[in-house]
């Protein structure tokens, strides 16, 4: 459904992504793990066109082209077929929880207002926040804001939802509620690509784990393989370090 080949990106002479290739199938729940600075977030941002890639190829939603040859129409197509959940939520601060979800439906998708509201309420129900629909983001806890962020993404019914460290900005006691929502999504067959430091999520919920370091995919495979029998030294070291810190 989504195939990325040889994706490259550098900032100010530093190579952040050094040729990333992977594919996402419908229904996949892929966790991307790896040390800070390994390019995980940049990977999501270049695929979703928030950053311009310096090289590589994408085939997705009817597009089959080099990143650098994407025109405005292609970029719109990509943006309209992905969902994105940000590390720091990025809810529209001047909109209520409900309006945060209806905004894209009404303005971008031209859905009728009444229909948009219906879809938004269903999405809020899935994240358990129907009673907060008229709250502004500043009136919600971090966990609630992130759940609205997830509802905003699922309401648009995208082909794949990218999660950029969705629990990293949360107080520890709020992480659980967000992971629970994500687990429900995964169980319902939503295609998800999740950059995460939550090793439990990677191990228990995803069907594939990608380990990235220094701008490369070091190895990928089933959670069982990556966590129990990693073939690369780099992966072993990362897992040992991170698990000994818990």
């Amino acid at each position: 459904m989504l195939t990325i080949e040889g994706l490259k990106k550098s900032y100010a002479g530093h190579d952040i992504l050094k040729g990333i290739s992977f594919n996402v199938n419908k229904g996949d729940v892929i966790s991307i793990i790896g040390p800070s600075g390994s390019g995980k977030t940049t990977l999501l941002r270049t695929i979703t066109t928030l950053e311009e890639a310096d090289g590589g190829h994408i085939s997705f939603a009817g597009i089959d082209n080099d990143f650098q040859k994407l025109n405005g129409k292609d970029i719109n197509t990509i943006r309209r077929n992905v969902g994105f959940v940000f590390q720091n939520y990025n809810l529209f601060n001047n909109k209520t929880a409900l309006q945060n979800i209806t905004e894209g439906l009404i303005v971008a998708r031209k859905v009728k207002k009444s229909e948009a509201k219906k879809i938004a309420l269903e999405a809020l129900e899935r994240v358990g926040l129907t009673d907060r629909q008229n709250h502004y983001p500043s009136q919600l806890s971090g966990g609630q804001q992130q759940r609205v962020g997830i509802a905003r993404a699922i309401a648009l019914n995208p082909q794949v939802i990218f999660f950029d460290e969705p629990t990293s900005a949360l107080d520890p006691e709020l992480v659980g509620e967000v992971l629970k929502v994500m687990q429900d999504l995964a169980n319902s067959g939503t295609t998800m690509v999740v950059v995460t430091h939550q090793m439990n999520f990677a191990r228990d919920v995803s069907n594939r784990v990608i380990f990235m370091a220094d701008g490369y995919i070091v190895e990928q495979g089933s959670p069982k393989k990556i966590f129990e029998n990693p073939s690369e030294e780099r992966t072993k070291k990362f897992l040992t370090d991170i698990l000994s810190n818990v």
Partner: protein, 232 residues
């Protein structure tokens, strides 16, 4: 008591000239805001040339005292029009020159206010808009602008009050506004009752400024209601 009667009397004589002050101020605010918006856009643009030009403009204008700006426009513009466009604008209503001068003066601080308000809104708001499928313009108009507006409001109001006060220099090129009117009253009284006259004038400026402040704080409050944090 006598003085209060005099002041009230002078108020009655000065107020009819308030329309000149209001026309000059309102026109300069509207035109200056539009010019300020263009300048802010230029300072935020990708083009180095636009950015440099805009920032030179802003720093020069900010360093120009209002009275000098008014004289520059009043004496300089007719020469410029004559030389460049071979058009004679000597017959223009003098009010236009004041409006142009104040527009130029107002545009500089306003462009800075707009730019910093825009920059205070997190980049994530734009990114979130793009990734729910909205265009950059839709996101700017529906998400960024309303938030930047609230941020800019207090400083903007401050600049408006400043402009109003600088507008009191309108009389220097012979436009009969309230200040000119006050001078005439004093002259008619052979220099008598001067402080009562100017006291009346000051009162009018106070009321306008207070009204602006009050209006702005009402707008601000209605916006802050939305953002007030409720203990959850």
């Amino acid at each position: 008591m006598e003085n209060i009667k005099l002041i009230v009397n002078f108020l009655g004589q000065l107020l009819p000239a308030i329309n000149i002050t209001l026309i000059v101020s309102l026109s300069s605010i509207i035109l200056g805001s539009l010019l300020g918006l263009l300048l802010a856009a230029a300072r935020l643009s990708q083009s180095v040339i636009l950015r440099v030009l805009a920032s030179i403009y802003v720093s020069v204008i900010r360093a120009t005292p209002s009275i000098i700006m008014i004289f520059l426009v009043y004496y300089g513009m007719p020469l410029l029009f004559n030389g460049w466009f071979h058009t004679n604008i000597d017959g223009w209503n003098r009010m236009y020159f004041v409006i142009i001068a104040l527009t130029l003066l107002f545009s500089a601080p306003v462009s800075e206010i707009m730019r910093s308000a825009y920059e205070s809104i997190s980049k994530g708001q734009m990114e979130a808009g793009l990734l729910v499928g909205m265009s950059p313009f839709q996101t700017f108009y529906r998400i960024i602008l309303p938030q930047a507006f609230v941020v800019a409001l207090p400083n903007f109001a401050n600049s408006v009050v400043n402009l109003l006060k600088e507008g009191a220099l309108t009389f220097t090129i012979g436009v009969v506004d309230m200040v000119a009117k006050a001078q005439m009253i004093v002259a008619n009284n052979s220099g008598g009752y001067a402080w009562q006259t100017y006291c009346a004038l000051a009162l009018i400026y106070w009321v306008i400024s207070l009204a602006i402040d009050k209006g702005v704080s009402l707008v601000e409050k209605s916006y802050q209601k939305k953002r007030k944090t409720i203990a959850v």
